[in-house]
Symmetry: D2
Subunit: 132 residues, 4 copies
């Protein structure tokens, strides 16, 4: 797995639930934000794509939770990318900083919906070609 | 204050923060959902209005927090409506069920943005006329 | 798959993102709320368990996204339960109402952390025994 | 108004709603995160205070919404602090970067709940004394 992008974060207290740890669903949001920041580095923009009728949507998500993040923690979300058929598959791992303990590991399969239909987006193919 | 609509809710555990109580910002979401359900009873729909170029936006919000809601609580959000100039002002109170303890009290000033400009929306005026 | 519990919901507009559909992470929250409501019917309570030092935590989640939910949609989240080793595995499916189109399908593996250590919780085993 | 702290942010796409702008409740979360980061610079920690039986809770919030933030925006949340009786009052303004357009303006009244009762927290008084 070759990570090609990473995004740093601070845990925000409102992201923690009554167990005092970051709520499970929030990791999925961290991973989404990381993907959207990543595609900007490839010259794409999630909101602009949507305005053009191209929606990158998540088809499947698998997340393994290894170690919870807590109030005050800093962490980094790393990202690798692979193309499988018409899917772009993102491998994303979250490591606590500075000790680099693995917290969460995700595999996110995305597909393109172009003008309402499942399809391939030449914009994405071109933007990601050099990164695969 | 004459309440003309109410919406019942259950606290969801993910809405509670590490203090074990519903996070402050979430009450604003409860109030928003109550307003959007209310406008449906008046024949309007928030998403459809947006698609037509009419956005009801919040100009000001004041919320007084009296008593926190906790995991397991049920509650009701009551709503009153007043027109002040071009603003529709919503008065919203949240009461815990079944003991009807007042938890939160809000005043939400909304304005209409019609095709990108501050204005009045005849759709809303007509829909709300009979309710004021 | 024998579903033993279901929870009905309305989409709330603040759960939709700029694509105009429910944000992916929110389905995970819907599923969490459904599990927490379910365990109440088995005589358990997530917040009380936490206060006693017993935390049910998610070890792994897999969600397949089939069809997005939109503003105004109503839906039901159905739940089945299986024990696999020390894990309780929840199978959860979200169907749009009233047409019962499948929207999302999840498999959530949970483990118990008892006083900070991975373990089995006799409270849960007893509560769930009659449901398996 | 003398601002004594500021926190920079990027809008995350999942914070935007179907109007394509940051949802109103999210600004309240931005302001909360800014306050919690601020109190760290004063040597306090929200989660640690909670563990010691001291909860800083919001009693009242007023937010004026001037200009919406959108996908891709960067912004800064500035903070000023005043003591009024037993309340700590935070004045918080959110400015879009880099053009420094004012987006949101908040006044947040907080009180201390010490071991379940409204009171004053010597820890906070001491930490904030030099900042007022």
């Amino acid at each position: 797995m070759k990570f090609i992008f990473e995004q740093k974060f601070d845990v925000r207290d409102y992201e923690c639930d009554l167990q005092g740890i970051v709520n499970n669903a929030v990791y999925q949001s961290y991973m989404e934000h990381t993907r959207h920041q990543f595609i900007k580095t490839a010259g794409l923009d999630f909101a602009e794509l949507h305005a053009k009728g191209i929606d990158a949507v998540v088809a499947k998500i698998e997340i393994a939770y290894k170690r919870p993040l807590k109030s005050g923690d800093k962490f980094v979300c790393k990202l690798a990318l692979k193309k499988e058929g018409i899917r772009y598959v993102f491998f994303q791992e979250i490591y606590r900083l500075p000790d680099m303990e693995l917290c969460t590991k995700g595999k996110i399969d995305t597909v393109s919906i172009v003008n309402g239909r499942l399809g391939e987006s030449p914009e994405m193919d071109e933007a990601f070609a050099k990164l695969l």
